[in-house]
Every structure is written in C-alpha cells, then in structure tokens.
C-alpha cells in the first residue's frame, strides 16, 4: 500500500511537470523556429535581389555572371534603373490616358490599308 502511495505521488508529480513543461517547450520551440526563419530570410534577402532572382533561372546565367552584373550595376546606374526611378507627373499620367483613348477610326484604318494595297487580316 505504501508502495502504491509512493507510485501515485510520483505520477502526480510527473503529470504536474508535464502540465507545466509541455506548453513552455512548445513556445520555446516556436521562438526558436521563428528565429531560424528570420535568419534564413535575412540570408535570402542578401543573396537574392527579388526581381533579378527569377531571371537567373530563365537566362541560365551562372552565379559568377550574376555577381559581375550586380557589381557593374552598383558602379553605374543603368538607364532602365534611371527610367524606373522616374516620378511621373500628373501630366505624364494624363498622356498615358490620352494614349489609351486614342483610337484610329475603323473607316480611316480601312482607307489607310486600301491606299497602301495592304490586306490586313482582321
């Protein structure tokens, strides 16, 4: 009987330890996972350049070639980058809208093609 009481006491202590320990272990594991993930993301950010990362696979360039391009890019800003950084004004945006709204009348297009003896497939 005495032995049974001891066993019971042991299991109750074990259960209490589990009750306290399990959630802590889970949260510690979670924190460690989050930390690992954030470190991994930072490494990836350093390695990859967003838009550029996809291009490597498409063009089949080696990492060396990529590094050369990146180095060259850091020394001289490409024209595409300069244009990409341009800040359009309201008038530039209006010009795009005008471009969108511009449509050659069907009748004029037909006359243009007829005059040029073109046979456009519609």
């Amino acid at each position: 009987m005495n032995r049974q009481v001891k066993l019971h006491a042991f299991f109750i202590i074990l259960l209490l330890a589990l009750a306290v320990g399990v959630p802590r272990a889970i949260s510690q594991e979670q924190a460690s996972e989050d930390q690992q993930k954030s470190e991994k993301e930072q490494k990836q950010k350093k390695k990859k350049g967003g838009f550029f990362s996809g291009l490597k696979a498409i063009r089949g360039e080696s990492s060396e070639q990529q590094e050369v391009t990146a180095t060259a890019g850091s020394k001289t800003v490409g024209e595409g980058e300069q244009i990409g950084d341009a800040q359009p004004t309201a008038s530039d945006r209006q010009a795009v809208t005008t471009m969108e709204n511009y449509a050659v009348p069907e009748k004029d297009l037909k006359k243009f093609q007829d005059d040029g003896k073109l046979k456009a497939k519609q």
């Binding site: 009750a19 838009f51 471009m99 456009a120």
Partner: protein
C-alpha cells in the same frame, strides 16, 4: 485476483494524466496550434494568389505605370499626324496578332536613341531615332510587329507573374492606385529587365518570328524587320545609342532565323508594298530642316 486489483489501481494515475492533459496544458497548446494553423493558411493563400496569372486589368495597371515612367523620362514627341500614322501602321500589324483580349496603343518618344519598347497591356513606344532609321513603312511595320509579338507572347508578363517578390504587396490597400509602392516596384523591375538586362534570347527570337508573321499577314513583306536590324547594327557600330544591340541576341543570328522562316514558308514577297514614299511623306516632320 490480486493482479487484477493491482492493475485497477493504475487506472487512477492514467485517468489523472488524461484529465491533466485535457484541462491543463491543452488550452494553451490548442491556442498556439490554432494560431500556427491560421498563419500557415494565410501564407498558403498569399502564395497561391501570387502564383495565379495576372488579370488583364492588373496587366494594364503595370503597363500604365511603365508607360508613365517612359513618358516622364523621354517625353512624348508631340505631333498629331505622326502619332496617327504610327497608330495606323501599328493597328494594321496588331490585327493578325493572336492576342485580341487587349487593345494596342502606340506612341512616339522624343529621343534620338534608336529604341522601341513594349509594356504589358499593349502599350508600345518607338523613339524618334528609330523612326529616323527606317527607310520605308515595311521596316516600321516590322519593328512595331516585333513589339506586338512581345505583348502577344506575354514575355514580360510571364517574368512578372513568376516573381513572387515583385508580386508581394499586391493585396495591400491602395496597391493598385497609380503611383503606389507596389506599381512603382513592379514597373521599375520591368524597365530594368527590358532596358538594362534584356529579355531571354528565346523571347526575342519568338517576338521576331511572331512579328514577321503579323507584318506579312497585314500585307507587308516579311523582311522589314531584318532590313531594319541590319541598319541598326551599322548605326550602333558608328556610335548610335540603342539598348536593342546591347541586350538583344546578335543581329546576324536573328536575321538568319528570319531568313530561314521566309525560305521554309516559301514566302515570295517581291510584289508586296514597302511604301517608302508614304513613309517619307508621313515622317517628313522628323527630317532636319535645311538652313536658310
């Protein structure tokens, strides 16, 4: 009998274990599990959205932003008659394109550089310098048809769609407003790709092949683009500025492939109009005026 009583006494700690597991740590663990599950589902949803093809409206939004930046940098060449002419040639070569779910728009950029650009959504630009290099309408048609080929082949669009980093932020509030951080990042990426890095050689060859087919289906001879490319090569050797020769595959190879298609298709284009006179008359405004 004794053994049976002893085994029954084990039921107490086992029952206590189950009770403690259910009532003790369970609510906290359950909440954490729910949180993990929710975050996982949110991430999966974002990834799934980012991998979906862009809608035509989304494509147009990017094209509008790219166009606004091109116009902000180069400025439009403001001549109504010339813009109308370029649109007439452009509409003629765009008509046979496989992609008719979008409208094609054409404009002239005020730049001496010899370039042509196409942005997603059907926005196509040719520079004053490129127009000046063309000798006839068939060459202009070839250049514009090549650009239509890029749009129809969704060459830029496919790159944008594949890039999850670029598409991140597409769900943010005001992401689709002109000038938003998302559209700026997207259009900047497109311009760097187009002008500084160039598309994949396979995409350029594909745009060439599509372009010569559109130009020919429109009634022009198929070799307009090849003739333009030969002159472009010479012009850049003599100091002319063009990103086409810098980022595109070698002209020799492109022209060889064009010639191969013309031969394989048995296209006899000698009687097809090049329209040199009409081109000269319509682009007269670009010719330097003789000094008095």
């Amino acid at each position: 009998m004794k053994r049976s009583r002893a085994s029954r006494t084990w039921l107490w700690p086992a029952g206590a274990l189950v009770t403690v597991m259910l009532l003790g740590p369970a609510p906290a663990a359950k909440a954490q599990f729910r949180d993990l599950l929710k975050r996982g589902m949110e991430k999966a949803e974002k990834v799934q959205k980012a991998l979906q093809p862009m809608t035509v409206e989304e494509e147009r939004e990017v094209g509008r932003e790219v166009s606004a930046k091109l116009i902000a940098f180069f400025h439009l060449y403001q001549d109504e008659a010339l813009t109308r002419y370029v649109n007439l040639v452009g509409a003629t070569v765009a008509a046979p394109s496989e992609r008719q779910d979008i409208q094609y728009h054409f404009a002239v950029l005020d730049s001496d550089d010899i370039n042509a650009f196409s942005a997603p959504g059907g926005y196509i630009f040719i520079t004053r310098g490129a127009l000046g290099l063309c000798e006839d309408e068939a060459e202009l048609a070839g250049v514009l048809a090549h650009e239509v080929g890029h749009v129809a082949g969704k060459h830029v669009l496919k790159i944008v769609e594949r890039d999850k980093a670029l598409r991140a932020g597409m769900d943010e509030t005001r992401a689709h407003m002109p000038g938003s951080a998302y559209l700026h990042k997207m259009s900047r990426g497109v311009l760097i790709k187009l002008i500084d890095q160039g598309l994949a050689p396979a995409d350029e060859y594909d745009a060439d092949q599509r372009g010569i087919k559109y130009a020919r289906a429109a009634g022009y001879p198929a070799d307009g683009l090849a003739r333009f490319l030969t002159k472009l090569d010479q012009a850049t050797e003599q100091g002319g500025k063009s990103f086409w020769t810098r980022t595109h595959p070698p002209v020799k190879e492109r022209n060889a492939r064009i010639a191969q298609t013309i031969t394989a298709e048995q296209w006899e284009d000698a009687d097809r109009p090049k329209l040199a006179d009409r081109f000269a008359a319509e682009t007269q405004v670009l010719k330097p005026k003789p000094e008095a």
